[in-house]
Amino acid sequence: MSAPTMTRRPRWLTVVGLLGVVAMGFTVWLGLWVTPPDQFQGNLARLLYIHPAIATVALYWVGLVAAGGSLLYLWPRTRSFFWDRLAAAAVEVGAVFAALTLVTGALWGRPVWGVWWTWDARLTSTALLLLLEIGYLALRRVPAEPAIRARRCAVAALLIAIDIPIVHFSVDWWNTLHQGGTFIDPGFQIHASPSMSWTFLLGFVAFSLIFVWLLGVRYQVEVLQDAVGDQELEVSLTERWSEDTELVGAGTNAPTPGPGGGAP
C-alpha cells in the first residue's frame, strides 16, 4: 500500500464538506437575519441555534464514534487500524467541539445568568469530558509502535466512555443537592415560531455534516502521519546503511555497525 493511494480524499467527503458549509451559511443567515428576536432573551436566543447542536456533536456523535471505534479495534475479528484512527480522529474533533460547547455556553451564560461559569451539572461534566479527551490526546502523542499505541488508546477511550455516565450522574446529584437547577432547557425555544424551529434543526444538520467532514479529514491526516513515520524510519535506515558501507568499505554490504569512534 503506497501512501498516495490511501490519502486521496474521497469525493463523498468533499461533498459532505461543501454541504456542511452551505448548511452552515444558511444557519448563520437564518439565525442572524431572518428569525425574529426571542420574546424573553432578545438577540441572545440566537446563540441557541448553534450551542445545542455543537453540544450534541461533542457528546453523542463523538462518543459513538470514539467508543465504537475503540471497541471494534479491541475486538480481534474487526481489528484494523481503520478503527483506531477513526476513534482518535473522533476524540480530537470531540475536544474541539467540547471546547466550543463551553465557549458558546459561557458567551450565552454571561448576559443571561450573569456569570461566565457556574457549577452546573452539565457544565461541570462537559468540562471534565474535555479534560478526559485532552488526557487521551496526550496519551496518543506518546511515541510507541502503532499496534501498541492503538491498543493502549482504545483501552483509554473505553475507560473514558464508561466514566462519562458516572461523572454525569454524580454532578447531576451534586448540583441538585446544592443549588437548584439553573439549566434552562433550550427545548422550549423550538416551538416558538416556524422560522426559529427550522433554523434550530438546520443547525443540527450543519454541525453534524461539519463533524463528519472534520472526522474524515482528520482521519486522513492520521494516515499521512503514520506514512511519514514509516518513511522517516526507512530514510534513516538507508542513511545508516550508506554510512556503514562507507566505513566498512566497498567489499561488504552487510550493515554491521563498525566499532565506535571510527568516523572522522
Binding site: L74, L128, Y136, A138, V142, A156, W173, L177
Partner: protein, 222 residues
C-alpha cells in the same frame, strides 16, 4: 485467579514493607496536603470544619496517584514486567493482586487522614458506618481505576506526568461522592449520605469488572 491475586498482593506488600516508600513518602505527603489546604483556607475554625471532608478526599486522591506510581514503579525494573507476564500468572489475578495491595495502603492512609482531620480541624464523624462504607467502596474504586491507568501508562517515559492527567479526571466522581458522603457522616445526616453510595458502588463494580477483563490486553500493550 484468586490464588494468583493473593500471590501478587503479597509480593507488592512485602516490597512495600521492606522499602517503606509508602510509609515515609506517601503518608507524609497526604498529611502535607492536609496542612497546605488548611493554610490556603485560613485558620477560621468553622470554614475549616466545613471544608474538612473535601480536604480529606483531595489529599486521598493526590496520594492515590503517588501510590499508583509506586505500584507501577515496582514493576518497572529491567525485565520485571516480562517476568511477571511469563510467570503464567493470570492477568486478572495480577490486576486484582495489585489493586488489593494499593487498596490496603489506601485504607491505612485514610486512617491517618481521619486522625489528621479529627486532630487538625476538630471534626468528629457522627455516622461511623457511613464514613466506613464510603471509604471502603471508594478504596475499591480508586485502587481498581488507578491500577488500570497505571498499567496504561506503564513503560512510558512520560509516565509520571501523564498518569495524573489521565487518572485524576476519571477519579473525580469518587472525590465528589466521597466528600459528600463524609460531609453527611460528619454532620450526622445519614439519609443524605447514603444517596452518594449509589455513585461509589457502580464506580467500584465497573472498574473492578473492566479491570479484570481489560488488564490482559493492556499488559500486552505495555
Amino acid at each position: 485467579m484468586w490464588h494468583d491475586a493473593v500471590l501478587v498482593a503479597g509480593k507488592d506488600l512485602r516490597i512495600e514493607a521492606r522499602a517503606r516508600v509508602a510509609l515515609w513518602q506517601v503518608v507524609p505527603f497526604a498529611v502535607l496536603v492536609l496542612v497546605l489546604l488548611a493554610f490556603a483556607i485560613g485558620p477560621d475554625q468553622s470554614s475549616l470544619r466545613h471544608a474538612a471532608p473535601g480536604i480529606f478526599w483531595v489529599a486521598l486522591l493526590f496520594s492515590t496517584v503517588l501510590a499508583i506510581q509506586r505500584s507501577v514503579a515496582v514493576e518497572s525494573g529491567e525485565g520485571t514486567r516480562d517476568g511477571l507476564r511469563l510467570s503464567g500468572i493470570d492477568p486478572a489475578g495480577i490486576f486484582l493482586g495489585k489493586a488489593a495491595a494499593v487498596g490496603l495502603q489506601l485504607l491505612v492512609l485514610q486512617l491517618v487522614l481521619w486522625a489528621g482531620i479529627t486532630f487538625l480541624f476538630d471534626v468528629r464523624v457522627h455516622v461511623v458506618w457511613l464514613a466506613l462504607t464510603a471509604s471502603l467502596l471508594a478504596t475499591v474504586g480508586l485502587a481498581c481505576a488507578g491500577v488500570l491507568y497505571g498499567a496504561l501508562s506503564a513503560g512510558l517515559r512520560v509516565r509520571d506526568t501523564l498518569l495524573p492527567l489521565l487518572v485524576l479526571p476519571v477519579l473525580a466522581p469518587v472525590l465528589l461522592a466521597g466528600s459528600k458522603a463524609w460531609e453527611a457522616a460528619l454532620d450526622g445526616n445519614a439519609a443524605s449520605g447514603t444517596q452518594w453510595l449509589k455513585i461509589l458502588v457502580p464506580f467500584a463494580v465497573i472498574y473492578l469488572v473492566v479491570g479484570v477483563v481489560l488488564y490482559g490486553p493492556l499488559q500486552e500493550a505495555a
